[in-house]
Symmetry: D3
Subunit: 329 residues, 6 copies
Amino acid sequence: MVPSAPVSRSPLGPQVYREMAVFSGNAHRALAEAVCKHLEMPLGDCEVTQFSNEEVFVRFLDNIRERDVFLIQPIVSPVNTRLMELFVMIDAAKRASAGRITAVVPYYAYGRSDKKDQPRVPVTARLVANFIETAGADRVLTIDLHAGQIQGFFNIPVDELTALPLIADYFRNVGYESPVVVAPDVGDAKRARNIAQRLGAELAVIDKRRIGNEERTQAMGLIGDVDGHDCLIVDDEILTGSTMMSAVRLLNARGARSVSVACVHPVMSATAFEVLDSPELSELVFTDTLPLVHGTFKSVPTTVLSVAPLIGDAMYRIHTGGSVGALFR
Amino acid sequence: MVPSAPVSRSPLGPQVYREMAVFSGNAHRALAEAVCKHLEMPLGDCEVTQFSNEEVFVRFLDNIRERDVFLIQPIVSPVNTRLMELFVMIDAAKRASAGRITAVVPYYAYGRSDKKDQPRVPVTARLVANFIETAGADRVLTIDLHAGQIQGFFNIPVDELTALPLIADYFRNVGYESPVVVAPDVGDAKRARNIAQRLGAELAVIDKRRIGNEERTQAMGLIGDVDGHDCLIVDDEILTGSTMMSAVRLLNARGARSVSVACVHPVMSATAFEVLDSPELSELVFTDTLPLVHGTFKSVPTTVLSVAPLIGDAMYRIHTGGSVGALFR
Amino acid sequence: MVPSAPVSRSPLGPQVYREMAVFSGNAHRALAEAVCKHLEMPLGDCEVTQFSNEEVFVRFLDNIRERDVFLIQPIVSPVNTRLMELFVMIDAAKRASAGRITAVVPYYAYGRSDKKDQPRVPVTARLVANFIETAGADRVLTIDLHAGQIQGFFNIPVDELTALPLIADYFRNVGYESPVVVAPDVGDAKRARNIAQRLGAELAVIDKRRIGNEERTQAMGLIGDVDGHDCLIVDDEILTGSTMMSAVRLLNARGARSVSVACVHPVMSATAFEVLDSPELSELVFTDTLPLVHGTFKSVPTTVLSVAPLIGDAMYRIHTGGSVGALFR
Amino acid sequence: MVPSAPVSRSPLGPQVYREMAVFSGNAHRALAEAVCKHLEMPLGDCEVTQFSNEEVFVRFLDNIRERDVFLIQPIVSPVNTRLMELFVMIDAAKRASAGRITAVVPYYAYGRSDKKDQPRVPVTARLVANFIETAGADRVLTIDLHAGQIQGFFNIPVDELTALPLIADYFRNVGYESPVVVAPDVGDAKRARNIAQRLGAELAVIDKRRIGNEERTQAMGLIGDVDGHDCLIVDDEILTGSTMMSAVRLLNARGARSVSVACVHPVMSATAFEVLDSPELSELVFTDTLPLVHGTFKSVPTTVLSVAPLIGDAMYRIHTGGSVGALFR
Amino acid sequence: MVPSAPVSRSPLGPQVYREMAVFSGNAHRALAEAVCKHLEMPLGDCEVTQFSNEEVFVRFLDNIRERDVFLIQPIVSPVNTRLMELFVMIDAAKRASAGRITAVVPYYAYGRSDKKDQPRVPVTARLVANFIETAGADRVLTIDLHAGQIQGFFNIPVDELTALPLIADYFRNVGYESPVVVAPDVGDAKRARNIAQRLGAELAVIDKRRIGNEERTQAMGLIGDVDGHDCLIVDDEILTGSTMMSAVRLLNARGARSVSVACVHPVMSATAFEVLDSPELSELVFTDTLPLVHGTFKSVPTTVLSVAPLIGDAMYRIHTGGSVGALFR
Amino acid sequence: MVPSAPVSRSPLGPQVYREMAVFSGNAHRALAEAVCKHLEMPLGDCEVTQFSNEEVFVRFLDNIRERDVFLIQPIVSPVNTRLMELFVMIDAAKRASAGRITAVVPYYAYGRSDKKDQPRVPVTARLVANFIETAGADRVLTIDLHAGQIQGFFNIPVDELTALPLIADYFRNVGYESPVVVAPDVGDAKRARNIAQRLGAELAVIDKRRIGNEERTQAMGLIGDVDGHDCLIVDDEILTGSTMMSAVRLLNARGARSVSVACVHPVMSATAFEVLDSPELSELVFTDTLPLVHGTFKSVPTTVLSVAPLIGDAMYRIHTGGSVGALFR
């Protein structure tokens, strides 16, 4: 016989609605586990695999009907597969009747493809936002988008957390005397100013320009004074590290007492582990929004600040209707 | 340190969902306060301002995550700014993760732009409905739309209340002997008949026609008999009052014993306060769906019937899943 | 006076949300009643009629605000009217502020119009899915779609139940010695294999082919061996019965010991009651996803397996967040 | 006469893209043929049938890629099947890559279901509009909607033609001395006034009211004077004819010299052919937006005014980018 | 032979609007070039690259405003990157104001993820369809979808071509005496029957079943007779080749005179080049909808049938409004 | 000079379909006329008014069926009314069957509301983008958005022109010896660098910071050296001028030889005409994307650079399928 549920309607029926359930794709299971540990709850059971034809397959092994589902997946290498995993997880959760789906994307890839700055190019950061909505996510939780306007690429609510206070707190504890915060490019000046203001530090800006018609030859100028100061270069993400290293050298040449480098998202291609692993650089600071998938740093002193408590607290507030903004007051 | 929420999951978690929260734009704060007083709850704290460049800005000062948010804003002068305030409030509430957003629009402007009655004109009442949905409202609560079909301009649920029983009750208590309800135009005959039926009164209809090719010259005929009767002209809204005043004069000329004028929505442009403030008119009755922003009546006896209890009761029923229709049974 | 609700906010407010409410259109009230009996709850009160101009009209007589509404309506003759009833019920429920709307469609008509297999034809199964979503349904519950891919025609969650275990259980209880399950066409082989596997039976397949250019002349071949075996032909639905009857005769001619016919959906046009009511056929088995509207079987032994407990259990699990998949484990 | 565009197709119009193609469903092939005759072009070849399970099937036999496709289908009995035919034709045309699809719906059924005038009822006129858009129509051409606001139920362009000038022209040619145009209900007064103004006639209005609590018992009053005048009752559609016949009798009782009845859409249920076929009525005038499917009139003098030239001219202007509004100037 | 349209572009076709422009992603440039050669036009210039962070970047080097743009990209390994390339190309083309965008996807990956056949899994084939529409494609051109119903996953027009006639023609020319076409699984019987009917051949079906509870242990049965016949196993795609090879062995064991294998889409993982490269197999036939990216066949005789003329003819007909269906009449 | 397309309309362009038609709202008729003069075509006839209840009304007096319609309307004071005019014009054009609608918005208001930089605020720049799409625009043409990411707020194609080359050309012609381009805030550094690079000039950046907890008290620092140089402060828009004037004074205090101020969009509130009209400032340069509605400059030398040729050329290229990007090569 087909099994038949006992038909006594629980007066608590609607309570089952919105019980929290957290799952991880293959991008950064360690972070998801740290978040769940912070929340004192288990990470949910979900199969996220690729068939031998490379097609992504997802199966939730727990019943998630009406649950408040959080899917944790920063978009790290292999980027397009991790992205597809996220989309497919959302679709599977939607079709499995999840009560609410929050895409937790600590690092939002394609963030630099956020405008048409030359003819006939895409705005992929918007396209990815469309796909997250189309797949069925109800909301997004992310950290330090490349540009705040990417929030506006979504019609669903976006909670953007920031790890800049974590970084500023770290350097405040280091206790430099009169540090200078340096923006590695004029387009990054606002982020650097944010840190500078938190540290009561001066600001300097590096001005890179093309030389002649050659696309890749650049001259680097420095606006502001760093002579005799401890310098902190702050960026949102580091990829190959080569531009960053040129900046380090420029600052050293201009008399910097020391040069530290901090970023939120350690995208870090393989070359970054060669280029940045250098004594010219005093310290390297970043968070764990992303795992290091292409290598490790051997000689440069490295500090990893964990965003797991920050993400966990935000998820808890999203789940219980608490203020996420209050986390930063 | 970043503050960390105590991670004990309340068994009451979902209860926070849908706590009621009521806010007002700048259109009619007095009405919003009267509604909240009726509901015995405070009006929420929300900044709705314009920058020096006239751009509308909104900030909710209370946390509204998962709350059952009601935004009270009739569309009164300055019409397009009040409309934009409504849209921006909805967008801000959506992005602030409101649980549900009800646009409470006691007067729905642009209601007369509800069809293409000449070539190449807009259907702005539909456009506004689209904008309310696009901005993110989940439902609409309104009073006496210019045409009931405007409900159908929305895909989201619309609760349309009516103040006609309030008006009929008022006149029943006055106790005219054999009143005649007069429709100020053939297109308004149904609304007048509604009142007439409630009062057990006769109906008369004014028939305005264009003369020749001149757009604005009109002849007014009267269908039905008013001689010796107390007349009640009933309209949904009054703007300049000039057509209404012509109707008053026509009825007086046809032997009316008295002429009272009632409308739900006192749109009342500045000229209305000159034109209608006249002894030819026995009484002027309207509701407070709109504030009077362009003047006051000085000599004509005026009665304002408050819709605040009606709106408050409807909001309460929407919040608790009670029947709104039952309010009118 | 307009009645005023007592304004004490119940601490249980949100509980009213999602109380279950079940309604039936005119397609199969007996099934809806059986489902409600299984759930030990009353069938809701809803007027579903046609005006004298044949236009469908719907009115819910119970308040359904925020309720968890289930609308039970298989699409049976008169097909297009029953379909329109379903759409209009959904629209009315949406505009009446139902909390959630589940379209329970035990038989999904137009399922065979699921692809463009010739130029310039529609994909009506997708169109109907679009209409169900457009009208405002939040989810669909159905039984044995003609093709599983029809699930993918929806963007909303679909729970597809199957009555094949019911049918297999029935035949297992009959206790044939070494039955052969026969697919009436190569396109139906998977469904037959499903039953065969459950019964541990062999499989045979009927191969129909066009002869020459004539559209309707077909030759029937049999792949596999049925001589001396009890044969069970299994299909998802039976319409006119004539193809099925040709299959029965072919099997008898090939030495079948007996031939039983089973289907999930007894669409059964008027001719089916003539064609299939024959001694060449040992038994006819189907479910009650559809009522028999065009006739009755008189001589062939007929068994009707009820899907009401299956639907009721699934609805209960949908309502309480239980696993529907677990019904079939 | 309504002006008729000269039907010579511009040499610039018909490129491969947007060659005109006209098809008819099963609702009113005679009208479609008359339209094509007016346009001096053949009616396209399209199979619109029902399978033995009553499911509608459509197949275009002509290639319609990139053509400017017009689908002519008023919604007449059997209403829901004709509606489904329209939807399926649109879907098939869209999937067959039609360049543009215009749904030509001379009579738009469900027009009276255009607002929620009681709790928990649908707004089916909007639902049908949604379905037409969802199916894939690019635009709609229709005649005399029950309410002009139904235009606003669409987001796509709607061209609403009117046959009222045809009707007014007809009665002007009859040459009554001082006719009175009578609205059969207060809600129809605007349409009657339109005709009255074109004829320079007086207006009268019938006021029907419920008596006590009985839904269907009505008292009829007459506002205005008809004694000794030829009366023309004008409505948009006639269904059963019984209300209309009561109006005829009332006018006769009030001394009307003659009573003619005109409507645009002869919906005409079977009873209409009994009720209206009466000597109390001088003449019955309607158009051919609908075929008479339930009977014929035997004794009452009947005039059918064809809308085929009007539709054909509008289609031609839509196709060539001419002004449709100019048809009515 | 598949008929080939004469490729002379109509003087009426190419105005500025809708001039044809064809581009290739990185999946299968050779096929795109073959198509363009067939069309006697150049392949357009478009940069499709990945940055060092693996993000896909696209730039059209030709102006494509108002052009009729075709983007050729089968979804081959690395699958998720090729898919993302397709999406990003569509977005870039849309934002570059292409007049019309046709996604030409000769092999549609994720086609087997077309239904929920177990709880809590995705329907990725629908998700990909949604993404193609969301990105901005106006239409899709594809070849032999895994299931015809995938057409219905799209709301935009889909032209599905079939290479089965190419395969049937090939084997007809080989001239086997009385071949048997074998379906490698009961779910593939329809496709095999299609080929069998074209060849006038008999049909046999392989019936794979699970043994006990082990997911992957299967028993293979054969329904039908192959003794002494040349067998042709026909599938839509081949991935690892191991199931196919088991089928080959089964047929050889049952006395097949020879066994040939044909498929439309040579997905061919690395193991396929080991498994299938065997003397047990007489011949391997497939098309060039996909390039072989993981290896080459060394000993088994292999024939590649090109679909370039078929795609080119279809594109030309799409561009000029010709019938694509007529290609297969 | 910005290149200007030769304005001879291709004989292939203007068929009936897509003949160009240009209309202006009430925001900046002079600009629309200048654009039409550049295009050697008349400005179309369109009534854009407000009723006495302030509701915007639009009526196109020309037939615009299938025309390529351009609606020119920068969003200037009264901002919300001009915005509503734009939306209503789009709706009216859509319902009047325009072939294509391009919203030409030389100044896009609400551009600074492009991200949630504090809790519970809107992203109005996205909301406005949604409204433009919802109303029915097919594309947008604009100049120097506050942030390039606003392009990504649209799903429809956006052509963003830039007037920065016009400004750079102007200052190059002035012939300063070694000018320094100054960014008035760190967030504006990229735009200033763009101009600096075009002029081969140095860059300096002003760093404004909050002092203590007071929201509005700011300290201004200067990064970079201006002593003895001619300074050009470049911003995208100027509103009240007070921050700009503080920057002017800071530069003068730091030894600047002269200080010129340039911006693209002269939003210019009333106070700007007092604050900036000062001898501390050598020159004021802006474009005519906006009219000056709140005053005039009396003593400061002012230069207005017209964007009319730029807009006209872009419109012509949009209309004829030419490359807009090529305007800036």
